[in-house]
């Protein structure tokens, strides 16, 4: 059971990280929005960390089954997501470094 203090600490981290996300994402130019979607798709598979724990602790048969499916699914997401992003971005690198056209997104 979580103490209130732990929960509030979590909220602190959530709030500051969300703020950071806002600031960072706002600067991504339109040019890169599709790769960004692919990248964050890969990052959203971070629940893999939780899945690994559930599966690794192998408490009950149920938890093993659910953990197994979860790890497989999350791995598909992270592997697929990064490969898609990588593939997309490779295309942006073909030319000699042209002037970095960074416009402030919105």
């Amino acid at each position: 059971m979580l103490t209130n203090e732990v929960i509030i600490t979590s909220l602190f981290i959530f709030a500051i990280a969300g703020f950071l996300g806002l600031e960072v994402i706002r600067r991504v130019p339109k040019l890169l929005h599709t790769p960004l979607m692919a990248l964050t798709n890969a990052l959203s598979a971070i629940s893999l960390v939780g899945s690994l724990l559930i599966l690794g602790e192998a408490h009950t048969t149920y938890s093993k089954i659910m953990g197994f499916v979860a790890v497989v699914a999350a791995t598909v997401n992270v592997v697929g997501g990064f490969l898609i992003t990588d593939k997309m971005l490779k295309m942006f690198k073909k030319r000699e470094p042209v002037k970095a056209k960074v416009e402030v997104g919105q």
Binding site: M1, L2, V6, I7, S10, F14, A17, G18, G21, L22, V24, R27, K30, T34, P35, L36, M37, A38, T40, N41, A42, L43, S44, A45, I46, S47, L48, V49, I54, G56, E57, A58, H59, Y62, M66, F68, V69, A70, V72, A73, A74, V76, N77, V78, G81, L83, I84, D86, M88, L89, M91, F92, K93, K94, V98, A100, V102, E103, G105, Q106
Partner: protein
């Protein structure tokens, strides 16, 4: 001590995710961003494997699951044509959401004996989100892949039904919060949430899917963060928060660029066949159309050409042909540039990715804001499978569904050439008066085919001259 090191590794990984997104803010650093993200992910996985309490059996299962997952993930990621990106992202997304939902459910079953009230509320929220993103993403992928009908399916009172389903799930979660031992409530919560994910997407048109995917991405991030709160895992919280923000901002940007509200996207059933929309039968009315050699002649004779690609170019996969065509024109001394509307195609940056795939250098791709003032100096605008993004009705017709959306002012150029297959409307399902403008020439046909023919005409004519 070991746990401290794991936590420090998570800290490094969290910074890595932040840097990864930060480096996405410019093309030259974007690949570094991916590497940072990948490295952070690998670090997070390795650190997790060092946790106390993992059993030998557990490690064996983990190894098997990671292998199977990679075996599915690699082809999913590698063998994907650029045009199928949106649905692949949606599909990959549904897998991640499935994992998030399952972890939440498993955690409940394992810990239900000593779960606090707030914890239970967060956990319930997390399970609802995970399940609805799972089915929602599957539906979105199905619509985009055209396995499911693209058109929004609506019926009277639909929104009420949807909210009733979501409301029922929420009520059950509240009952669980009051007494976390009510295990029997979990299955109905799951079913209701899965159903809500389906119902949520049913009334949304296939073309609105990218916005929906961004939004589902945001939900997935928030569910990861919620999971992090429940598991007291700070890495999950940070990654989830970054992700949640990212999806939200992208969805907002897309909505704003289409001049529509969130509500309209989610509940507006946009993209339905509009009863009153004329000209969607494909009959060719009062328009001037040109043959391939006429069009090629005009293009060759001009000094500056601006190509406006749209969804049609993506459908026809014409980007490589376009590149060849532009090369041919440039060999004739014509200045060729590209005007990219922020919502051309079906994803933000869709055209950029496709043209980059065809090696068009990205300094030739001009934003709407950059190019719009220059159209009066342009000889020929070549509208290639674009429709709504050049529809002047957005400027003056208050009753048009796209009224207020900023558009590319191609009608200010000396001549406009439109390549599409018919007179059928685009995503918004509305007539485009640009096609009836006296200075517009229609060139009918599939984008890839037409551009290929034009290239032959341009280079062929040059050969003829050089004989």
């Amino acid at each position: 001590m070991r746990n401290d090191l794991i936590q420090l590794a998570y800290l490094v990984a969290a910074i890595g995710f932040g840097l990864s997104l930060k480096w996405m803010s410019s093309a030259p650093t974007a690949r570094r961003g991916i590497f940072a993200g990948e490295a952070a992910f690998v670090l997070a996985i390795i650190a997790t494997l060092f946790h106390d309490g993992l059993t030998g059996e557990g490690y064996a299962l983990i190894a098997a699951a990671l292998l199977i997952g990679s075996a599915i993930g690699v082809p999913l990621g590698l063998k994907v044509p650029m045009t199928a990106m949106p649905q692949r992202i949606a599909l990959s997304h549904s897998f991640g959401a499935l994992a998030a939902g399952l972890v939440g459910i498993a955690h409940y079953y394992l810990e239900r004996a000593n779960v606090g009230k707030f914890e239970m509320a967060v956990l319930g929220f997390e399970i609802i989100l995970g399940c609805l993103v799972f089915t929602g993403s599957l539906m979105a992928a199905g619509k985009l892949q055209e396995i499911l009908p693209q058109r929004p399916i609506t019926f009277k009172g639909q929104n009420y039904v949807n909210f009733a389903v979501l409301g029922a799930a929420a009520v059950l979660v509240i009952l669980l919060v009051l007494d976390p031992s009510r295990t029997a409530l979990i299955p109905p919560i799951i079913v209701l949430s899965l159903a809500f994910g389906v119902f949520l997407i049913v009334p949304i048109g296939g073309a609105d899917m990218p916005t929906v995917i961004a939004l589902l991405n945001s939900y997935a991030g928030i569910s990861a963060a919620a999971l992090g709160i429940v598991l007291d895992n700070k890495l999950l919280i940070v990654a989830g928060a970054l992700d949640g923000m990212s999806g939200l901002i992208l969805a907002l940007i897309m909505c704003r660029a289409m001049n529509r509200s969130f509500r309209n996207v989610m509940f507006g059933a946009f993209g339905q066949l509009q009863e009153s929309a004329p000209g969607d039968g494909g009959e060719v009315g009062n328009v001037r159309s040109a043959s391939f050699d006429e069009a090629a002649e005009i293009l060759k004779a001009s000094r500056s050409v601006v190509i406006v690609p749209g969804y049609g170019m993506a459908v026809a996969q014409a980007q490589h042909k376009v590149r060849e065509f532009a090369d041919a024109l440039e060999a004739e001394g014509v200045d060729v540039r590209y005007a990219i509307h922020p919502v051309a195609g079906r994803m933000p940056g869709h055209m950029n990715v496709l043209l980059a795939e065809a090696n068009v250098p990205y300094d030739k791709l001009l934003d709407m804001d950059e190019i719009n003032s220059e159209f009066p100096q342009v000889d020929v605008v070549l509208v290639l499978g674009a429709n709504d993004v050049v529809n002047p009705a957005a400027r003056h017709n208050k009753s048009s569904p796209i009224y207020g959306m900023p558009i590319l002012n191609v009608d200010q150029a000396a001549c406009v050439m439109v390549i599409k297959r018919s007179m059928r409307p685009g995503f918004a399902g509305i007539e485009n008066e640009l096609f009836y403008d006296p200075k517009t020439l229609m060139v009918f046909g599939d984008a890839k085919h037409v551009v290929g023919e034009l290239t032959t005409e341009v280079t062929g004519q040059r050969d003829a001259i050089s004989i």
